[in-house]
């Protein structure tokens, strides 16, 4: 068995062959179940896309949800792991309360209430417990991802009745109940709940509803639907067959794209687009709408390739099939059918646009507002797509080396030669710059250029032993790099089970990698493998550790 550490360290094409040879069988056909690490149950704050998907599923996608939630820290390359750890300051709770209030006002406002409340109250000016119940029971089940107990329902109906009586307004009372439910930790957190495992006395397992949520958020990045909740209620979800049936249904749904989009937006750090602006004098074509379009282009490229075409994940780094708006096409300097919408586009063979890394999103995200940055691009590639960590700069860097001839550098390569000639800088910059320089044919807005400062750009370099001549060849090198597939496997696993990879996960990851290879590196098959792996539902009792997070008061 090839260890994960070895792959990351060695990073040679040879490894890939070895991995494929050794683990050339799928884990759920294996007679040798890997020893699976059982993580603690998690309580995960709902993310903006999860919230938006949930609201859209329950109430329709015309209900407005704020486009940005409070930021969380990325952990092991993923915000989604940060959500399982972030501390909750009062201002965050206040925001969630207001989000819920806004949704409730829209849902129970005069325009939509008749659509969502399945009954007509006796009078809009008085309480109507029966009608309130008819609304609360099904909505509460989807919001809390479990069937509400009769006590709970009774309590919520009481609250609605009291408020309706106080205000002489049935719908307003119901609206306050809905907004308070959406501020409840039952909705705002996605819970792992444990129960005794009847098959393994003395051990615990995820309860049925928690399993339904785990599946639903993994495949749809949204709340479980009625069928999943039924499978939980009937206990089918505890059977292998029941899980398999649900997995097939989930993976075959168009809603799978929601999850793929969210995962790659997270892995590729597209949240940084929320604050990305380019210098309008230096890059006049990169107007305010471009960054959103650029992110959307890459996400459409990804979902099209991975879901519509069931393509090989590695081909994402070479595919020329994409989608463009007229505004984006101007940056690429290609003709498109002018439209406000995205239209399919295939870049020409010698367009220099081969794969995700040569798209405006990656190139402009990992650049400064007014210029390109080989260092940021190199770091972006290594950290987000190869799962390698680039050390931070040392504290007391001596920048005097830059001073000698700072004004005379024509190209970024000339500037960065300084980094490699200074030993204090060289150690880190040799990790980032040689690959980042491969993208120098693209300026800070992602526009192609042959020259910088009049000098022809040399975009050659090497990626962990694989030489390349330019960004297109670098895409090919990334495709060949064993870290590329391993990275997506380990990140997707972490995303599925809500915790960073651990040393104990090596066997699971290696098995998944083998399975991934066997299925032609199709993401949908990888997701199926993950969900059917023993690791997916594996949890243990939490250790009674001392809290390490701050108390809020």
């Amino acid at each position: 068995m090839i260890s994960r550490a070895f792959i990351v360290r060695g990073a040679l094409a040879v490894c890939l062959i070895a991995v494929m040879a050794v683990v050339g069988y799928g884990i759920y056909y294996s007679n040798r179940p890997p020893a699976v690490y059982q993580g603690p149950p998690t309580v995960k704050l709902i993310s903006q896309p999860q919230y938006a998907n949930t609201v859209a599923y329950i109430f329709g996608d015309d209900i407005e949800v704020p486009p940005q939630f409070p930021p969380v820290a990325r952990e092991d390359g993923l915000l989604s792991l940060g959500y399982a750890n972030t501390a909750i300051t009062p201002v965050v709770v206040e925001r969630f309360y207001r989000y819920g209030q806004s949704v409730a006002e829209q849902v129970l406002g005069p325009d939509r209430r008749s659509y969502f409340v399945p009954c007509t109250p006796a009078s809009v000016k008085t309480a109507d417990g029966e009608c309130a119940r008819d609304f609360i029971v099904p909505i509460g089940r989807l919001l809390y991802r479990r069937t509400l107990s009769s006590d709970e329902v009774a309590a919520y109906v009481d609250l609605a009745n009291t408020a309706a009586t106080q205000l002489q307004d049935f719908y307003q009372g119901l609206s306050y109940v809905l907004s308070a439910m959406m501020a409840s930790p039952e909705f705002v957190f996605i819970w792992d709940r444990l129960e005794d495992d009847p098959d393994n006395p003395g051990q615990v397992r995820l309860d049925a509803y928690s399993k339904a949520s785990r599946l639903s958020f993994f495949f749809w990045n949204s709340t479980p639907d009625d069928q999943l909740l039924n499978a939980a209620e009937t206990g089918q979800i505890h059977t292998e067959e029941g899980v398999r049936r649900q997995v097939e249904r989930l993976v075959g749904s168009p809603r799978l794209k929601q999850s793929i989009r969210a995962f790659f937006a997270d892995m590729l750090m597209f949240d940084h687009f929320e604050n990305l602006a380019k210098d309008s004098v230096i890059y006049p074509a990169y107007g305010p709408g471009v960054s959103g379009d650029a992110a959307e282009q890459s996400l459409r490229t990804i979902t099209h390739h991975l879901v519509d075409n069931l393509g090989d994940y590695r081909d994402l780094f070479t595919t020329r099939e994409t989608f463009l708006t007229n505004t984006l096409a101007a940056l690429y300097r290609v003709p498109v059918e002018p439209s406000r919408e995205f239209v399919p586009h295939e870049f020409a063979e010698d367009s220099h646009r081969d794969g995700l890394l040569t798209q405006v999103a990656f190139l402009s995200l990992h650049s400064h507002p007014g210029r390109s940055s080989p260092t940021l691009r190199g770091k972006g590639l290594r950290e987000s797509l190869l799962c390698q960590e680039v050390p931070r700069p040392p504290p007391n860097v001596d920048f005097s080396n830059f001073e000698d001839a700072a004004g005379d550098f024509k190209t970024a390569r000339e500037r960065l030669v300084r980094h490699s000639s200074d030993p204090a800088c060289a150690n880190c910059h040799k990790i980032t710059d040689p690959i980042g320089l491969g993208f120098e044919n693209f300026d800070g807005a992602g526009q192609f250029r042959a020259r910088e400062g009049g000098a022809l750009i040399d975009a050659s370099g090497e990626l962990d032993g694989i030489p390349f001549a330019d960004a297109s060849a670098l895409g090919e090198a990334v495709k060949q790099h064993p870290g590329t597939t391993e990275c997506v496997v380990s990140r997707l696993l972490a995303n599925a089970i809500n915790r960073p990879n651990r040393a104990e996960d090596v066997a699971v990851i290696d098995d998944l990698l083998g399975d991934f290879a066997q299925h032609g590196y199709r993401i949908t098959d990888l997701m199926r493998s993950i969900a059917l792996s023993e690791a997916f539902f594996a949890v243990a009792e939490p250790s009674p550790d001392v809290a390490t997070v701050a108390r809020a008061d």
Partner: protein, 446 residues
């Protein structure tokens, strides 16, 4: 359709000086004979705030040559001339890594906010000084503290309750306005007060749901239990906020809810844009203070890696600190200094906003204490020695102003320590290791 009030109009109309002029009858009714307290006998509230800018300064053209009163204003802080007598300058105070690594652009401000040098980039020991202040003086207002920035990026804050627990700042003028002066706002000067029945109903439903969920599954790890507790704390704060709106507020003669802001600002870190965002956020903040919606605040002008840019110039502030040549004739990095000067202009503007806002027989600034600082002194080499600091305001006559204090390389943490004691926090020491402060900066005490 309601016509949105343009940003410019808002700037001019409500806060430019004209609209803050309060009719005398109000003053007579609401203030006691001395003008230093409300007629009800309650003192004018004390306020504490912080103001942060990134990437320090150039010592030679920033630090005044003379100490004490009447200090000179070297070119990099020349824009502070209108507020010189309202501020104190603190130079030559040290911040140390305390044997830990110097985590670039992090160690400096973390020490000056919580007194302890971090051991890694996510390390935050305890709470920041503003949170401690908020516990002490922030109760009794709807918002225990308010955090805002001028960068538009919700990650740019220097206020925290511990590791992973940053206070999320307001970044959008529209959202900030809505939060403070939205429909739930109770005008403290309204002649009549009737508790809003909607808020009453809303609060009772919220309380009911909190009760419903209070007995959630406790089979959680300690961390998750703590997070759940945090969440309930937040919900109770929310409950208290609603409760506050149900009580008749004390009259605040200086309070005038500004016209609604409906126009979002564009993204970006161009210095002009930051200046405009800073102005707008400052003005809403000042009115929130005048209306006693909060007593504790944090303003971040730029973050510690300040990526502020000058339009058409390809290098950001941070990049220039490392890459720009020192001009042999000037003796400093001209572009870096350009960025520092913009920061000082904003600081000057901020102090002026408070200083020009009448309250009682003085100004809002008289009843406030603002602590301003950066994360570095000389950013080119990430220097922590002599990180520049200021105070503004006299906290109701409790500290002197108009002074330049030379710290003689004593710990910079002495300043926040002193300020907390000035506002009656009962502490004898603050910070840890070499950054532990035990001595007040006596020169500023009245």
């Amino acid at each position: 359709m309601k016509k949105p009030i343009s940003r410019r109009k808002f700037l001019k109309g409500t806060l430019g000086g004209a609209a803050v002029t309060v009719g005398l009858p109000f003053l007579e009714i609401f203030l006691n004979a001395n003008g230093n307290a409300l007629a009800s006998g309650l003192p004018i509230p004390k306020r504490f705030g912080t103001w942060f800018w990134g990437l320090g300064m150039n010592r030679e053209i920033f630090v005044p040559k003379t100490v004490g009163a009447g200090f000179d204003l070297p070119e990099e802080m020349a824009s502070l001339a209108p507020v010189r007598d309202h501020i104190n300058v603190f130079s030559n105070f040290d911040t140390t890594t305390d044997g830990r690594p110097n985590i670039c652009h992090y160690t400096g401000w973390v020490v000056l906010r919580c007194g302890t040098a971090p051991s890694d980039r996510s390390d935050l020991a305890g709470q920041s000084v503003d949170v401690m202040m908020a516990e002490a003086i922030g109760r009794g207002t709807p918002f225990r503290q308010i955090d805002v920035n001028a960068t538009g990026d919700a990650r740019d804050t220097h206020s925290f309750r511990g590791r992973n627990a940053y206070n999320v700042p307001e970044t959008s003028p529209v959202a900030f306005y809505q939060r403070i002066f939205g429909p739930q706002f109770q005008d403290p000067n309204s002649p009549t007060f009737t508790p809003n029945p909607k808020i009453m109903a809303e609060k009772s439903v919220l309380s009911g749901v909190i009760e419903q969920t209070a007995s959630l599954n406790k089979a959680l790890g300690a961390d998750d239990r703590a997070r759940l507790d945090q969440y309930f704390t937040g919900l109770r704060d929310m409950e208290n906020q609603l409760a506050y709106f149900l009580e008749k507020p004390e009259p605040r003669p200086a309070c005038h809810a500004p016209g609604a802001i409906t126009e979002e600002m564009p993204l970006g870190l161009d210095a002009e844009l930051i200046a405009e965002r800073h102005k707008l956020m400052s003005q809403i903040l000042v009115m929130a203070l005048a209306c006693d919606q909060t007593r504790v605040f944090n303003m971040t002008y730029s973050n510690s890696f300040a990526a502020t840019v000058k339009k058409g110039h390809e290098k950001s502030h941070h990049t220039e600190t490392h890459e720009e040549l020192v001009d042999p004739e000037l003796g400093y990095q001209p572009m870096v200094s350009w960025y520092t000067r913009r920061s000082m202009e904003a600081w000057s503007y901020f102090v002026q906003q408070l200083a020009n806002f009448p309250e009682g027989d003085g100004t809002l600034l008289d009843n406030a204490l603002v602590y301003a600082h950066s994360d570095q002194s000389f950013a080119k080499v990430h220097s922590l020695e002599g990180i520049p600091m200021f105070t503004a305001g006299s906290a109701g006559g409790r500290i002197k102003t108009g002074l330049h204090i030379d710290g003689q390389r004593s710990p910079g943490t002495r300043l926040p320590f002193t300020l907390m004691r000035v506002l009656d926090l009962d502490i004898d020491a603050w910070g840890s290791g070499a950054n532990r402060a035990t001595n007040d900066i006596a020169d500023i005490l009245v």
